[in-house]
Symmetry: C2
Subunit: 380 residues, 2 copies
């Protein structure tokens, strides 16, 4: 298939693009390199020595993969992007091209407004290009489990739609799960859902929205094939997700910093599984009667449980800090992930040897670590 | 009170600004005159001879009202708008500054993208200016009944929140009414709701969202005080709402054009009531525990019923045309409007003499009518 990977230079996009290319798909990465720009802005960095996109692409092509790169800011250059869709007629567009860090989206008005403007305009421009130029194209979007919002009354987390009874009429209905986002970033993903619902209803676009858990790990089978292909590793308080942060703390002799009681349960997924799941979603096109929403999740763990696994393995003490977020201190969480499983997804779960892989990188790349960045998350 | 009226040069904004000024509030109209620009773009016009904003303001000030005008594009000039909020510290901001025609939002990609970019960015920028510079300011937003979407299972339309039972847990919950917008324009108002929910939850902003019915009429007590103050009258298929279109058809000897069976029931409100309701909402500030959602509606009528009233009064025949929209041919509709009534709202309902007022204008201003514009709505 011919596949556009929007945001294909980023942490999830790059390994997914390589996975798709290795599976003999024709891959076009479209990216404006915004994640690299934000590194400069935050005086932050990947713990791994990531290469410029040109060098990455050259290596991948030397491995025999059909992969190309196009620098387009989809939010700002609609005409240019629409032309690409019109001329190349992709079978699928994978959309990772959003600002994806909750803490970044809460830094201040500049970052709040950038996150909304970039994410909403990009998603909407992609939908418009599909409607006008390639209406049979399948849009696969990276959403987030964070839109669900984890409230007690709602029960276990279904795949996007909630069965309810309306009290006044006693009638049953299936509704889009009522969102309760915890940051401006998560709010944009809730808003994306409304765009998908309407564009699917009115123009019958094929859409898959993958509500992904918190990603951990760094390397995949494909990014490990050459050191030039190495993936990003974000360890800082703004872009680093919790498990990678713990691992880099353990690797550098710091205490593991748990926010609040650590009783927050979250859904996790390894970066290899992200690539595998997106591949499954692309290769199994949904009908266009309804937006297909799948939970892209391998397992549920509490934050404290993660810290304990690492603390027990490496003897690193745990430190409890005030939670910078407004959220429940403790919550139950059961997540339905039957959709992807029915397509063949076999989750990779947290095991000591996988954590060892990540810790090896964190230790090896210690030279790149800026300690002051580990806990630089804003409070909100 | 010191009140900003965003979009205060438009059809609802102008009479509201005058009403507030006449009630001795200090009014700052902020508008980028986009509605006048769109008139040029569509080769369309107001049936009434509206005056430039400077002349309007001068007349209003001569009447002793404290009203000023500032030309700011809030979506594009955040810094300038934020400075105004910071320096003037308004007690309330009334937000009409959105592209407000469903047919316009469905013309093509340019209009779809303009509607989303303008409406979402403007709403979000307003919220950011409040959070950063004037956190106690009360935001009053003009939403629309159109977000509810009119589905049978849901029963009568409550004021923004729906009581449900979650089937899995058997637990009760009150959720934001699940939206089912019928156009890109309505979709933006659904997305606005998510912005309000999050900004209220995270920063405790006082917010009132007025879900308004279809507005009819032209003049209010205040706009009638001088012919320089006359309000817009949109009769075309893109900006003209259904009743005004019928009246201008009747006034010019055309058949009344009913889309589909005319069995669609809709909620209506007279323009005078728009101004009255916004005044009531501003003068009764809600707490900041929850977004206050009020249905700004006077009565429910079917489109056919409206056509019959006018047909009977003026002997104009009714003509049934294919419905350009994807919607139910017939629907029931019961709307709760207790919130505004509890604040003192006394609805003006459709009566022959009020319709006569509007018809008088339509007849008088016949010279301005471009017949080819009456049925220029796009299909979608």
């Amino acid at each position: 298939m011919k596949i556009f990977v929007l945001g294909g230079d980023g942490f999830c996009g790059w390994p997914t693009a390589l996975k798709l290319a290795k599976e003999n798909h024709e891959v076009w990465i479209i990216d404006n390199l915004s994640r690299r720009r934000i590194d400069e802005e935050l005086e932050s960095n990947s713990l791994t020595d990531i290469e410029p996109i040109g060098k990455r692409i050259a290596t991948a092509r030397n491995l025999g993969w059909d992969i190309k790169f196009w620098n387009i800011d989809i939010a700002k250059s609609y005409g240019y992007f629409a032309k690409a869709v019109n001329e190349l007629q992709p079978d699928a567009i994978v959309h990772f091209a959003e600002q994806r860090a909750a803490p970044y989206s809460m830094l201040g008005q500049t970052e709040r407004r950038y996150t909304v403007d970039n994410n909403i305009t990009t998603t909407h421009n992609v939908l418009n290009a599909i409607v006008d130029h390639c209406p049979s194209c399948h849009l696969v979007h990276l959403g987030t489990m964070g839109v669900y919002g984890y409230s007690k009354e709602m029960g276990s987390i279904p795949e996007g739609y909630l069965d309810i009874t309306v009290k006044e009429t006693g009638e049953d209905a299936s509704i889009l799960y009522p969102t309760n986002p915890g940051s401006v970033y998560h709010m944009t993903k809730s808003m994306d859902q409304l765009l998908f619902q309407f564009y699917n209803k009115n123009w019958n676009i094929h859409i898959t929205d993958l509500h992904q858990g918190i990603v951990w790990g760094t390397q995949t089978e494909e990014t490990s094939m050459d050191k030039t292909l190495v993936n990003r590793f974000d360890y800082d308080g703004i872009y680093g997700t919790v498990l990678n942060r713990f691992i880099s703390q353990a690797a550098t002799g710091k205490n593991l910093s748990v926010y609040g009681t650590g009783g927050q349960k979250r859904a996790f997924i390894h970066i290899q599984d992200t690539a595998n799941c997106v591949k499954l979603a692309i290769e199994n096109v949904p009908d266009n009667k309804k937006v297909r929403i799948l939970n892209q999740v391998s397992e549920v763990r509490s934050v404290k449980e993660l810290a304990m696994i690492i603390s027990n393995s490496y003897g690193t003490p745990i430190e409890f800090l005030d939670n910078p977020r407004k959220e429940l201190a403790e919550n139950d969480l059961a997540v339905d992930n039957q959709g992807l499983k029915s397509l063949g997804f076999q989750p990779i779960t947290l095991t000591a040897n996988l954590i060892d892989d990540v810790r090896y990188i964190a230790t090896e790349m210690h030279k790149n670590l800026k300690e002051e960045n580990i806990l630089n998350s804003p409070k909100w």
